[in-house]
């Protein structure tokens, strides 16, 4: 068995090596992210059977927890790191030819480091280390949103940075309160001691942590940065930001709420927040004329639904949430990647200018349609399976509160269906605008067709055979819910 720490160390080493490689050859750096993510994908998938048996606890520096930082590669962590590596690999392939302007070598470095940060967040077992990797993820995304130095990118990057920096500060205050109270930073150690201290201080520290991580997870009042950042970044970065980065924030919240604090009393509040986020995201998306802003708002909506499902606190609910993380990650990455070349082709981000593109770019349009249908939740795509699991979980709880919330949430899904169907209808049944200049640079290279096609195939395959992922979902939910087992695995006896 390979040590899970290599999932972080090897891509990090490759990223450190890029400046030297870039001096030797201009062409080599663009293939490095592909190698790094291929390595991560192979290792993550090969770790999955081991992690399903028992979480792998990796010590650093040779000291047992809680005296050093350790990684916990449980079913949830390894599933998410596989997802990160998979989407990261496909987007890296896409990025080989897509990135044409700005500091190309630096883009590749930041790209790897962003994925390293996300991988670290889902694997670590130490709350301060979680913060450090979270910062690796956030700071590289600030830089990537603005890396071209154009006016919209810089403005979005500045907004994102200000809100993100405040969020990180709040997380740090929360960590300080936790350390002062328990004298430990190991999540399992905190979890073992949580019941022993008065609850108000716990509540304050939890509030700081949730608010701080909530900025990155784009939960309702904290999501002002997201539409700007996701729409101004290059499409390959938007795909990672929407597909992975915001999920890392949500993962951190879930880990803290469930495993560390076991705080079931705030879950109804989170469920309401989730539904509010869902409705606001979908309603704003409905009025958008810009395709990338529309996709960004749709991400906010989906994050709301995932948060709602996480707040159900039942094994099925969390399985559904993790399933939706997987399906939304694949679908949103596909949509952003496909729209990237459509925008190159038409030279505009207006939805109306994409009319009739189904004839000019048949493969891209078909893949976009697959992604859109999956997001809406139409069978036989993977979105249907994940949303169906969530509905089943809500009905399973039998509580009127959750069922009412779900009923309100379904309105959001209907709105989502309406605007995606409008776009797809435009692709195929509306004539192309007369004055659209045919951009020659819009020729889709092979390196873009492969990842987009593969994502579409994956969405269809997992949708037809949900068992491929479903096998892992149950243990992943237990990983989050079963605190005593988690503490036992990490701390030993």
């Amino acid at each position: 068995m390979v040590s899970p720490i290599l999932l972080i160390a090897v891509p990090l080493g490759l990223a450190f090596a890029i400046p030297v490689l870039g001096l030797a050859s201009k062409r080599v750096p663009r293939y490095v992210p592909v190698i790094a993510m291929l390595f991560n994908l192979v290792v993550s998938v090969s770790l999955l059977p081991h992690a399903l048996k028992a979480p792998i606890v990796v010590r650093t520096a040779g000291w047992a927890p809680p005296y050093s930082i350790h990684l916990v590669a449980g079913p949830l962590g390894v599933l998410l790191s596989s997802l990160i590596a998979l989407i990261g690999l496909l987007v890296a392939v896409y990025g080989i030819d897509y990135i044409r302007e700005g500091a190309k070598v630096k883009y590749q470095i930041l790209y790897i480091l962003m994925l390293v940060g996300a991988t670290g967040v889902v694997l670590t077992g130490d709350i301060f280390n979680l913060f450090v990797f979270f910062e690796v993820l956030c700071i590289s995304s600030y830089a990537l949103v603005a890396y071209r130095g154009d006016s919209t990118g810089v403005e979005a990057g500045a907004k994102y940075l200000i809100q993100g920096a405040i969020g990180s500060g709040l997380v740090l205050i929360g960590i300080g309160l936790v350390y002062g109270t328990f004298g430990t930073l190991t999540m399992a150690d905190i979890a073992a001691n949580v019941s022993s201290v008065g609850s108000f201080r716990l509540f304050v520290s939890l509030a700081f942590l949730i608010t701080g991580f909530g900025v990155e997870a784009a939960i309702f009042p904290l999501n002002g940065w997201l539409p700007d950042a996701h729409s101004s970044a290059p499409s390959s970065i938007s795909a990672i930001l929407s597909g992975i980065a915001i999920k890392a924030g949500l993962y951190a919240i879930a880990r803290v709420v469930y495993t560390v604090y076991g705080a079931s009393s705030i879950l109804p509040f989170l469920a309401v927040l989730g539904i509010v986020t869902l409705l606001i995201g979908e309603m704003c998306a409905f009025g958008q004329e810009d395709i990338k802003r529309l996709l960004a708002f749709s991400s906010i909506g989906q994050m709301g639904l995932i948060l709602f499902a996480l707040a159900l606190a039942s094994a099925t609910g969390i399985s559904g949430a993790v399933f939706l993380i997987v399906s939304h990650g694949l679908a949103k990455a596909l949509l952003f990647l496909a729209s990237g070349y459509m925008i190159y082709r038409t030279g505009s981000r207006d939805i109306s200018s994409l009319n009739g593109i189904g004839k000019r770019m048949p493969i891209m349009s078909l893949c976009f349609t697959v992604g859109a249908f999956s997001l809406i939740g139409l069978p036989p795509f993977v979105g249907f399976a994940s949303k169906f699991t969530i509905v089943r979980a809500v009905l399973g709880t039998g509580s009127t509160f959750f069922i009412t919330l779900l009923a309100i949430g379904l309105i959001g899904t209907v709105i989502e269906g309406a605007y995606f169907l409008r776009i797809v209808q435009g692709f195929y049944f509306k004539p192309a605008p007369e004055d659209s200049p045919e951009q020659t640079e819009g020729k889709v290279p092979f390196s873009a067709l492969v990842p987009v096609g593969l994502l579409a195939v994956l969405i269809l395959t997992i949708g037809l055979f949900p068992g491929i992922v479903g096998r892992v979902l149950g243990p992943a939910a237990d990983d989050l819910l079963d605190r005593t087992a988690y503490v036992q695995h990490v701390m030993g006896d």
């Binding site: 700071i139 130095g149 403005e155």
Partner: protein
């Protein structure tokens, strides 16, 4: 009085944090906002150090074997603050470079006038 003397550190660092937050929330100038973020970061770092402080403690550094560890302050928050300071420097550098580019493009640092992007 005893409350004040035992919590004076916490009062100080949380005042800094709140002042920083106020600056970020109220000031429209991008540079001032960045200063606010830094004020807040300094407050948070002070808070972390304070968590590990004991009354009349010494630095956790041995210069001879005879020294006793009892009077030493907790070394962990100091290590955490080192990390937090470096992260703060990184964010500051990036924020300033963004401010330079914002000024290049818009000719102003007033956040109320920088509105190419709207909801």
């Amino acid at each position: 009085m005893s409350f004040l003397s035992s919590y004076i550190h916490y009062i100080g660092c949380f005042s800094l944090i709140l002042i920083g937050l106020y600056v970020v929330l109220v000031k429209p100038n991008l540079i001032k906002v960045i200063i606010g973020i830094n004020l807040m970061g300094t407050g948070v770092n002070l808070f972390l150090v304070t968590v590990g402080y004991i009354h009349a403690g010494t630095a956790p550094i041995f210069s001879e074997a005879a020294q006793q560890p009892e009077g030493m302050v907790d070394p962990v928050p100091q290590a955490l603050v080192l990390t937090a300071i470096v992260i703060g420097v990184a964010v500051l550098a990036l924020a300033l470079s963004l401010a330079i580019r914002v000024y290049d493009h818009y000719g102003t640092l007033d956040l109320r006038k920088i509105k190419a992007l709207r909801w």
